[in-house]
């Protein structure tokens, strides 16, 4: 395989910054470098004006009021602020939080930390397609429940949770509903008022904006939500998040949101077409398992397990040319296979064999054709090397084999 071609199919990890976004940001490094909190001179006014505009662009994308946008350093900080901030602010009402097993670590590890500090957390299971069970959710609510935190779209499998139905349950029981919408905002329509979301975290770098800037949406009315700040200082962002605003980043995120609002529909249509082609071609390979939900899902990605092939090894056959991700243990920092795939009920062997392929605004049909070919070739090559593929072909029942665990 040639070294010259480089195809990026890992847009769920991060997206490139749209050149139009870069262009919008540049003046705010040099010409308009002011501190948005400098209220008494033109440098500050220019920065504040740019931040106000970005707040409107971002609020516009998600159907919020600009005053409901709290800037953070990213989605991880926004998740932390939402969950810890609610736990602290509403501790008089209760100490119980409900979330999902398949949440991002930014939510799960925040919840684990709170458990050590006296909170109680319920981690709901998901079904084989990755969806939450609404009856289980409702049954888990207690008088002490203060927050339900359920992600909008999953980063590994792309399943989209029934946000409105979850919100209805939360409203009925007067529990706040927070969502980590990092993977959804900018890619599918998200309207916080229509869906009844009270707090929502998302970030610039998953929607063709810069890294290092994120947002926590905090509802101002129906209900009026407050979170206790987790960062003390100058009292920026209505006292909820102190720290000098990252003006160029915020301008970039604003522009990125504006572009998403304009182009999301066309992008989604085009990318789901390419994704479907990729998926259809790869599913023609023998012994491939689809992970996720075929209907309630993000338009730009797929997750497939190629049985009897290990994901990191498979990726090494084409990673000089193609960038994507695997749920294999060998690609994770923890050396454990994907906990999201395991939560779906997949065996560890299938989690080790999975590839996550996520397309983006700059993916072309040529890229997809190249990827189909390279992945297919890689799978065939790795299966020729695989003793368990040979055993499978000989009709050996792999479940009955006594493996020597190590």
């Amino acid at each position: 395989m040639s070294d010259k071609k480089l195809i990026y199919l890992d847009n769920n990890a991060t997206t490139p910054v749209d050149p139009r976004v870069v262009e919008a940001m540049l003046p705010y490094f040099t010409e308009h470098f002011g501190n948005a909190a400098s209220r008494n001179h033109p440098f500050g006014w220019a920065a504040e004006g740019a931040v106000d505009k970005a707040r409107e662009q971002i609020a516009g994308l998600i159907g919020a009021d600009p005053r409901e946008i709290i800037f953070t350093s990213g989605a991880t900080e926004a998740d932390n602020l939402a969950i810890k901030g609610v736990a602290e602010m509403y501790k008089g009402k209760g100490n119980h939080i409900i979330t999902l097993e398949t949440e991002h670590k930014a939510v799960l590890d925040t919840c684990k930390k709170l458990e050590k500090e006296g909170c109680e957390v319920t981690y709901l299971k998901v079904n084989r397609q990755g969806l939450v069970d609404l009856a289980e959710l409702e049954a888990a609510i207690r008088p002490t429940t203060i927050l339900v935190s359920i992600m909008f779209a999953n980063n590994e499998i792309g399943v989209v949770q029934p946000m409105k139905a979850i919100s209805d349950i939360c409203v009925k029981h007067q529990v706040l509903f927070m969502s980590d919408a990092t993977q959804a905002v900018g890619k599918i329509p998200v309207d916080v008022k229509e869906l009844g979301i009270h707090l929502m975290a998302f970030t610039g770098h998953k929607m063709y904006g810069p890294k290092g800037v994120g947002v926590l949406y905090v509802s101002r009315k129906g209900p009026r939500v407050k979170v206790t700040s987790q960062m003390d200082g100058g009292g920026h962002e209505r006292g909820m998040r102190s720290g000098t605003l990252n003006v160029p980043g915020i301008v970039g995120m604003g522009k990125a949101c504006e572009l998403c609002a304009e182009e999301m529909e066309a992008d989604a249509t085009r990318l789901s077409g390419l994704r479907d082609k990729l998926e259809k071609e790869l599913m023609k390979v023998e012994e491939v398992v689809f992970n996720g939900h075929t209907e309630f899902r993000m338009p730009h990605m797929t997750n497939l397990s190629f049985k009897h092939v290990e994901g990191e090894g498979l990726m090494m056959t084409f990673n000089q040319n193609i960038a994507l991700s695997s749920g294999s243990a060998c690609t994770s920092a923890s050396l454990e296979p994907s906990y999201v795939l395991k939560a779906l009920g997949l065996g560890d062997d299938l989690a080790h064999s999975s590839l996550r392929i996520s397309l983006g605004r700059f993916t072309t049909e040529e890229d997809i054709d190249f990827a189909i070919d390279a992945i297919r070739t890689g799978v065939n090559h790795m299966r020729e090397l695989s003793p368990i593929w040979e055993m499978y072909q000989e009709g050996v029942d792999l479940d009955a084999v006594q493996w020597s665990e190590h």
Partner: protein
Amino acid sequence: MAYSDKLLDHFKKPKNVGTLDKSQKNVGTGLVGAPECGDVMRLQIEVDETSGLIKDAKFKTFGCGSAIASSSLATEWLKGKTLDEASSIDNMDIVEELELPPVKIHCSVLAEDAIKSAIKDYKSKNAE
């Protein structure tokens, strides 16, 4: 992960991939690891009964790049060795040769286990 050129070479052009006839008396087979753990290694040796030397070695591995490279290297090293010499191959020799990063040391351990398991199989088949 950044791998050494030697490792990448063994991964891209693995040596001695294949299957020996395990029903032959002079073939020893080692199958170690588990699919749930993300690696399974099958290593086979064919012993020349007159000289007692390993005249051929083959492997198939389900696993990451390091596991495949470790088994490829192991089969290269095995050929021409006596069983005693083969038994003395240490996983740290593989780590050194392929410059395996610390998180991949278990791949070399698996290769050593596979060698020992293949020798054990050969010996048990040939124990009179």
